[in-house]
Symmetry: C2
Subunit: 344 residues, 2 copies
């Protein structure tokens, strides 16, 4: 059973295992530095469907199916799942996952969704209330662009601080097993809103939420940045990453050596026209599941702190002059299962 | 710690208490049969704000504040909360709750949100990972109407099967206490989609999801409809309620004596022009928190099964010809705490 270290930081007494995971990404993502790490990549932006939204649902469906296949599991082996995405009313998830017949807790955390789903699945597993629990998320450049910004055919010019919503999906299956990678602790994030109103600079809006959750996690667990091989944010991009390092430095925490941002890892910014980097639920979801988890499983990386970051605004809120509230949840994933050993 | 009875039905070993709760509703709801049960009602559809969306956020903020006040609690006493609503990217919740500084798990279950949040808060509390946990939801006629249907000034004519989105909010605080009302068990719902495509007949779309979760709960717990004083659905309205009774009858389950639908309870359909009844996350949320929980607390009602029901489509999905996937989660709320006694 998970143990409360503080109001919102929990240590797993029997750290659950991420027993299977999968990542699928689109064409542009396949051409970036992460391209070779995904389980599959797809040239067709429609994923064989008639619309981009249906394509995103198909992407999410294929990703969960891949995670099941890699884990030797069938849909009926999954007790329930946590899923969400960026589309209005989370239709990427609801239409993508409806045919699996798996009980669902729908979640909404914008681009923090992979952290949120993984944290919830881990807390439930550690508490004994789930055999296998899945967590899935996705994003799609075309469906996001026309929902949040402009019709793609409009050809709007993007600002230098703008980020590129990734066409990608990640799925994890959390199980009560004893093999790496283990989920050992998590901190539930809170909404942080420092008043940034520029929807073309979401990295800056999200950096304070990431700083809060990283600082809280380190304080509550008495861990240091140097205890981690990587402290991973979701999609702060170039502007937000610099701001995060600076915000934490002001609090006496230096994560500059450990920090990795999935938004910066996804693309080759010199040769791919993505401005400040990648974004979207699927950005950190696919890089966690495609790149990091294999390295933690093998032991190449020992400890990582995964903090997907989400901007919680909508176009309606932005049009009404609102600032951008943001959130990030921290999940400590490890090759080791030390807390369990302490317990024995 | 919660015990698994099946893949997706859980019994609470130490049933948590809904230690405080509050409901606030709008003008039209105040004029219906439930009007006198709400903690507060508000004549101003804007709730003192400049837009309906900001009004909905203000409504949700006031409702959580009221639940805290009634429970003698401050925001810092709440470990974390589950919240969501119908607006794109759940801005009713994110903007409404950002100033409380309470860690947040954002959820999306459309009008099933109150069941989903209450189930998750109860599972976490029973597992010892939370002191006080809140669950909140809301809906607003004007913000929903212009997002999902037409600009209000257009004056679109509504079909007879259409329902009226309630301006209302409900908030619960779940705590590890030993006083009624207790949460004793829950069943996590799954997406059910029988192919209904008429977005003006969401009761019919949602009825199969409610039938699934009620049947599963009764089967898994070996309980009978007659064990309950009320089996409550969220907002099936007139059409969906009749369909639910019929669907369950075909499965050999007769809930006709116990069934109550919040969508039918909210308005006086003879004298209020709401067609097939009320709907919206806030419909079942406010009736649970305004009407039912007091009666379970006092013992006037002993056992209720609360099954808020959600339609998981979006306007984009409907425009693309998609059917309406739906979901409902069942939560067993009781004046008694029998399972704990069994355990001792």
């Amino acid at each position: 059973m998970a143990r409360k270290l503080s109001r919102n930081t929990f240590i797993m007494d029997n750290p659950p295992t991420i027993s299977s995971y999968a990542a699928i990404a689109g064409k542009m993502e396949s051409q970036g530095p992460m391209g070779s790490y995904f389980d599959e990549t797809e040239e067709d932006g429609y994923f064989g469907q008639k619309t981009w939204e249906k394509g995103e649902s198909e992407l999410q469906k294929r990703t969960l199916a891949k995670a099941l296949e890699k884990g030797g599991l069938k849909a009926e082996n999954i007790d329930y799942m946590f899923a969400g995405d960026l589309l209005n009313q989370c239709i990427g998830s609801t239409y993508g996952l409806r045919d699996f017949n798996i009980p669902l807790f729908g979640i909404y955390g914008a681009c923090s969704t992979m952290s949120e789903g993984l944290a919830l699945a881990s807390l439930m597993t550690d508490s004994g209330i789930g055999g296998h629990i899945a967590a899935i998320t996705s994003s799609h450049f075309c469906s996001a662009e026309r929902q949040f910004r402009f019709p793609l055919s409009y050809g709007g010019v993007r600002t230098p601080t703008a980020q590129w919503t990734c066409t990608a999906s990640g799925a994890v299956i959390v199980s009560p097993k004893s093999e790496a990678p283990f989920v050992r602790a998590c901190t539930v994030g809170k909404i942080v809103d420092l008043g940034v109103t520029d929807a073309n600079n979401m990295g800056a809006a999200m950096a304070p939420a990431a700083a809060y959750v990283i600082k809280t996690f380190l304080d509550d667990t008495s861990m240091e940045p140097s205890d981690f091989d990587a402290i991973i944010t979701g999609d702060l991009g170039l502007v937000g990453s610099e701001l995060l390092i600076e915000l934490l430095r002001m609090e006496g925490v230096d994560i500059s050596r450990q920090h990795k941002d999935c938004g910066l890892m996804m693309f080759d910014r010199d040769n791919q026209d993505v401005h400040a980097g990648g974004s979207g639920c699927g950005c950190s979801g696919s890089i966690l599941c495609g790149y990091f988890l294999d390295k933690v499983k093998s032991g190449e990386l020992n400890n990582i702190l995964f903090c997907a970051t989400g901007a919680l605004m909508s176009t309606t809120a932005s049009q009404q002059g609102e600032s951008i509230p943001s959130i990030s949840h921290a999940v400590f994933i490890s090759h080791e299962c030390r807390f369990k050993e302490n317990q024995n």
